[in-house]
Symmetry: C2
């Protein structure tokens, strides 16, 4: 996070546990909080005090669950507009910005196509302009926003706030967090987009309450984010969750990464397009054309989607056999062509899951780009924690 | 663990942290303990007190690091023979038993081939006999042993203390922990052998101090144990680390699990033997015969080992691309034929690692069966913790 001197809101384990539960699960009574955290009621009351005083929590009106059920209880709740968070998703050709409240509710959004100039300077300029626009939507936003999160596809060094590599032209080792922090005056966190979305889904989406959770994205790239024992896997060398680069077919095509038989080399939208170009000899086909061909029944195009589906299903089964997630969420723009390869994904997944691992359901979750920006805003919410 | 009423020795986070550090890293000064745990010196002294009173820790004589370096410090150390732990490894044809001290030092061992009768009752009887023999080696063992760990290959429900499935004949849903607890009077934990060995190596072996660590076993079976953020991955449905059942070749052989192209279907010792039988037409070849053929230069046998090596290397690369371990330890009886496929393992690993994941070194570690029994004893040491 940049600048580095921003302090978390909570540091003590008890406060941390209380705030996390109320943020992700909504209002809870002190009794319920005590039960869930293993703390005493006294400890709950003591730890909640500073958060109430700071305006982050408030007591709801007393509720009686049943007549004669004893003392009325005042549930504790998060004051959602105590603080706001900006999230930015940088995609290959557009920017999406959102302002979220404390429970990740989207309050304002803005999106803009990238112009011709996609250099770090140009994108950074547009980004700050859009951030200004969403923050101007409500005076409270400017007043009570301290954190901004940026999600970008590619190789991101979160600790250093740098984008080491992205598909955008000229983006090599860009000190993005520092630049945006300087321009906006906010505390900035930059993270790989799939990792940010995984944490967002784990905290506020399909992954709530799971200890083992995975999110898989399909489309132009194939990636995954993995949560184990409640924490995102980041890898000892900064590489983890590279589902797109699992080698699953020694006879498969060469990948842009240099390996042979990667899932992405078979199943990305470019890979599908290239396979159909090769099969049909039509070098002018674009991905939309390939989709049309497949939907009209062209065997070569249908085959390419079938192969892609099998590769994705096999890749997810591998992930599930190694990590044993409770649930896998599948998302990304590849879901737009799910009619063409969904059955192959499911068949290959079922065929390659080992024993009880097959209990893990695949949940399809189309997430518009705004949701990816929301994932980025949640990086800011995380910054409240140690 | 059976019976269920055994209490951990430490429960408070501070005591837990101190005992874990001293167990795994050896004597440390209170200053060093404070630095490593983030606790105050006062908290260290207070938390260490009950462990000293119970005889688990003691103070070493004062040491001065340099003349004039200030007050002498008394490092704290674990009193290794305060408590002992029995570990048992059940292999396909033999039993190995060891008594370990608090820092997992092996003090006595015993091994015995299984007889003709390998039923749960027969193995359990022999197991208890061997446990009696090792405990009789020193009166202190009987006096100060409370925990016994059992490592067995197959599908183990650790929480229920049951072996759901193992390669031993007739072993289906065996309540092993309960039976051994009743016979020995000890608290018994049963765990899958690869998982037990992974935790043992993480605490007391090559994995010390790593947050992300993996152990891969090769030989009759192919398996792996995975540690992420310092904790063993167990999977939401009890399945995780199934490296042997990653599907890596759609054109590969059918596996005993029913899938196609599993690592184990290509690279287990049986798979290698079968491939050479098919290629040579000699149905009487056993694995030793195949090894001899390969060492004498027979092309079919050499090819089978090359394919196996590539499958293992690809499987490890997949594991590394998803989890990003700091180090992978490769062990198992398959190391005996490392001369025949080591180069293929390494080449395939290097070819399929994604970017910085390739920094992760493979460490070969031949572990005799006694070490697997030691891994099981460490299950008992873990039982001291919450």
């Amino acid at each position: 996070m940049f600048p580095n001197h921003a302090q978390p809101l909570v540091t003590a384990p008890a406060e941390t546990a209380i705030l996390a539960l109320l943020l992700t699960e909504g209002p809870l009574s002190r009794v319920e909080l005590a039960r869930r955290t293993g703390l005493s009621s006294t400890a709950i009351t003591k730890s909640a005090r500073p958060l109430i005083d700071d305006g982050y929590l408030h007591e709801l009106p007393p509720e009686r669950t049943a007549p004669g059920a004893g003392r009325p209880v005042n549930p504790l709740a998060v004051t959602v507009d105590r603080e706001f968070f900006v999230g930015v998703k940088i995609s290959a050709d557009a920017l999406f910005v959102t302002v979220c409240d404390l429970r990740a509710g989207m309050r304002a959004t803005a999106g803009r196509s990238l112009g011709e100039d996609r250099s770090p300077e140009a994108v950074c300029g547009l980004l700050c302009e859009l951030v200004g626009i969403v923050l101007d939507a409500d005076p409270a936003f400017r007043e009570r926003t301290r954190h901004l999160g940026i999600a970008v596809s590619g190789d991101v060094d979160r600790a250093a706030g740098r984008v080491r590599y992205s598909v955008l032209p000229g983006w090599r080792d860009v000190p993005l967090a520092e630049a945006v922090a300087k321009a906006t005056g906010l505390n900035v966190t930059v993270e790989n987009d799939v990792k940010a979305l995984t944490v967002a889904e784990h905290w506020f989406g399909e992954g709530i309450g799971t200890e083992y959770f995975a999110l898989v994205t399909i489309g132009a790239g194939i990636g995954s984010g993995l949560v184990v024992n409640g924490q995102l896997i980041t890898g000892a060398y900064g590489v983890a969750g590279e589902m797109g680069h699992l080698s699953i077919d020694p006879a498969g095509p060469v990948c842009h990464c240099g390996q042979t038989g990667c899932v992405e080399a078979i199943a990305s939208s470019d890979a599908i397009r290239d396979a159909v170009r090769d099969a049909t000899g039509d070098e002018d086909l674009d991905f939309d054309g390939v989709v049309q061909l497949a939907r009209s029944g062209n065997p070569a195009a249908r085959d390419a989607f079938a192969r892609a589906g099998r590769a994705i299903g096999t890749g997810i089964a591998i992930l599930v056999n190694l990590l044993g997630p409770e649930r896998v969420v599948v998302t990304g723009e590849g879901l737009d062509t799910y009619d063409l390869f969904g059955v192959h994904i499911k068949d290959a997944y079922a065929a390659h899951c080992f024993k009880a691992a097959a209990k893990c359901p695949l949940t399809l979750r189309p997430l518009p780009w705004e949701e990816w920006a929301r994932g980025a805003a949640i990086l800011g919410i995380q910054a409240l924690f140690p």
